[in-house]
């Protein structure tokens, strides 16, 4: 078993709001698909931020790939980010440029050779099913399509881990299913996926492993979907 990431007794305390994540430990293996759930404010986003090193733990150790929060210096964070894909509920596309320019941006700013970018962007857009909308502007796309663009961008540097913070939070049922299907395809190609969601039915249908947080503590880590029916 090769680990993609491991948290050891991680606590995150914010100066004004207090403890957001408390003594959380878990590990994720290569190619796994893990859901992250829990009520609003339970610490899901904080946990994902710890994994992308947007935040540092107050206590404990976060290890992602070879990088450890104990030793990683700020200037080394970009190295890690290049190996991660990150998507959000609000897509975060650059609204002043086309779909393909949005995807190309991730390659341009990480120093990809100019000659390779066009081909790569075409391939990524095909992978997310948007090849025909390459020259559209983001506002001309549906929410589901915009999220696909964001996913294509996240895949630009071939991540070993994709972090998705409620990627379907703004989408209707059909678009949600499409995005989850896409994430499963990506996962099938070997990228580990951690997806935060409020949508318990998604977890139940998938049968995948899920982590449940409550007020910052890890309440459950496993695949027993029947627990969730009690929540509903």
């Amino acid at each position: 078993m090769s680990g993609v990431l491991r948290l050891d007794a991680v606590t995150k305390e914010y100066p004004r709001t207090g403890v957001a994540v408390r003594d959380v430990s878990f590990a994720v293996d290569k190619g796994e698909f893990v859901f992250l759930t829990g009520p609003s404010g339970s610490g899901k986003s904080t946990l994902l931020k710890l994994l992308s090193f947007a935040e540092r733990p107050s206590q404990g150790d976060v290890k992602v790939s070879g990088f450890s929060s104990a030793t990683l210096r700020d200037r080394e964070i970009p190295q890690l980010r290049r190996r991660l894909g990150i998507v959000f509920q609000d897509f975060r596309l650059l609204t002043d440029r086309t779909v393909e320019a949005n995807v190309a941006f991730a390659l341009e700013v990480t120093g990809a050779a100019a000659g390779t970018i066009g081909t790569k962007v075409g391939r990524l857009l095909t992978q997310v099913g948007l090849a025909s909308k390459a020259t559209a502007m983001p506002h001309e796309l549906s929410g589901g399509e915009q999220q696909r663009v964001a996913i294509a961008r996240a895949l630009a540097n071939d991540p070993f881990l994709l972090l998705a913070d409620e990627p379907t939070g703004n989408l209707d049922e059909r678009a949600t299913r499409g995005i989850v299907q896409l994430l499963r395809e990506i996962n099938a190609l070997g990228t580990a996926v951690i997806m935060a969601t409020h949508d318990l039915s998604l977890i139940m249908r998938s049968g995948y492993r899920y982590l449940e947080l409550e007020r910052g503590t890890l309440l459950y880590d496993g695949t027993d979907a029947r627990r969730l029916t009690r929540h509903q």
């Binding site: 947007a54 200037r75 964070i77 970009p78 190295q79 890690l80 980010r81 290049r82 190996r83 991660l84 990150i86 975060r92 650059l94 609204t95 941006f105 991730a106 341009e108 700013v109 990480t110 120093g111 961008r153 996240a154 630009a156 540097n157």
Partner: protein, 286 residues
């Protein structure tokens, strides 16, 4: 690099007024340096011309013996500050006085001109303090009646030059500080205008250096433009003075180059000082 360049140029279009303001203050900062630099250079040239003519003239008491005179001239000629010593007889003094410098004319009584020793100093030894010191030493010879020299002129020119240097440096520094602050705030605007891009750059793993680069290029370009503008203004001032008042010299190409490079450095410094701080503010919620 090309991307960074493009982004930097975009910033000019986004905030043209603030950009122009930044460029102008840099230009004024360098112009202040430059103008007083020009004054200094021109005074230096004038000083050199005057200094070449600065000589000490030691008038001899009537009836000084040839022997004493020869010994004294030998002594004085051996002073480290002295380049040349000459003897001017009573007769030749009269002839020469007509061709002499205006500033020395008052020295001579038109009818009776005593014989004198003429002392020329080495270059670099012609400042007022040295001239006075040498004069004092020569005056100790018993047969020397009086030592005269164009001290007033030299002193005045030196004073003007010193004032020009300090004024130039003082004004230049004030403008430079203002320029750094203004460049800093244009960078702040530029950072805020590009907050989304910066956030995405950070998200996908662009290095800090890469994120900073467009802002540093922007600042440096503005500084360079400011430098060019300053050179232009200084040139106008130089031509105006030359045409209307008196002939002046302008900077050498190397000095012009230094001026533009100084502008670039100012712009770079201004952006470097502010970009880190403002980027951190934008990055907080990435």
């Amino acid at each position: 690099m090309r991307l960074a360049m493009r982004e930097a140029l975009l910033a000019f279009r986004r905030a043209p007024l603030l950009s122009a303001l930044g460029i102008t203050t840099i230009a004024f900062s360098l112009f202040a340096f430059g103008l007083f630099g020009l004054v200094t250079i021109n005074i230096r040239d004038a000083l050199r011309a005057v200094e070449d003519r600065v000589e000490l003239r030691a008038f001899l008491v009537d009836g000084t013996t040839e022997d004493a005179l020869a010994t004294a001239m030998g002594d004085i000629g051996a002073f480290p500050e002295v380049r040349e010593v000459g003897y001017v007889s009573s007769d030749s003094a009269l002839v020469r006085s007509r061709e002499e410098l205006a500033e020395f004319s008052d020295v001579f009584d038109a009818s009776v001109l005593p014989a004198s020793i003429e002392v020329r100093l080495r270059e670099g030894q012609r400042d007022p303090v040295t001239v006075q010191a040498v004069a004092d030493r020569i005056a100790t010879y018993p047969f020397i009646d009086d030592v005269r020299f164009g001290l007033e002129w030299v002193t005045k020119l030196y004073a003007v030059r010193t004032a020009a240097v300090y004024t130039g440096i003082g004004l230049g520094i004030v403008f430079a500080l203002v320029a750094v602050i203004i460049i800093g705030s244009t960078i702040r605007m530029a950072v805020l205008a590009r907050a989304r891009e910066i956030e995405i750059m950070r998200l996908v793993g662009a290095t800090n250096g890469f994120v900073r680069l467009p802002f540093l290029i922007e600042g440096t370009l503005k500084g360079m433009l400011g430098g060019v503008l300053a050179v232009g203004m200084a040139y106008l001032a130089h031509t105006a003075v030359s045409r209307m008042l008196f002939e002046t010299v302008f900077f050498t190409p190397a000095q012009v180059g230094i001026g533009i490079a100084a502008g670039a450095a100012l712009g770079f410094l201004g952006s470097l000082l502010s970009v880190g701080r403002h980027l951190r503010a934008v990055w907080r919620d990435a």
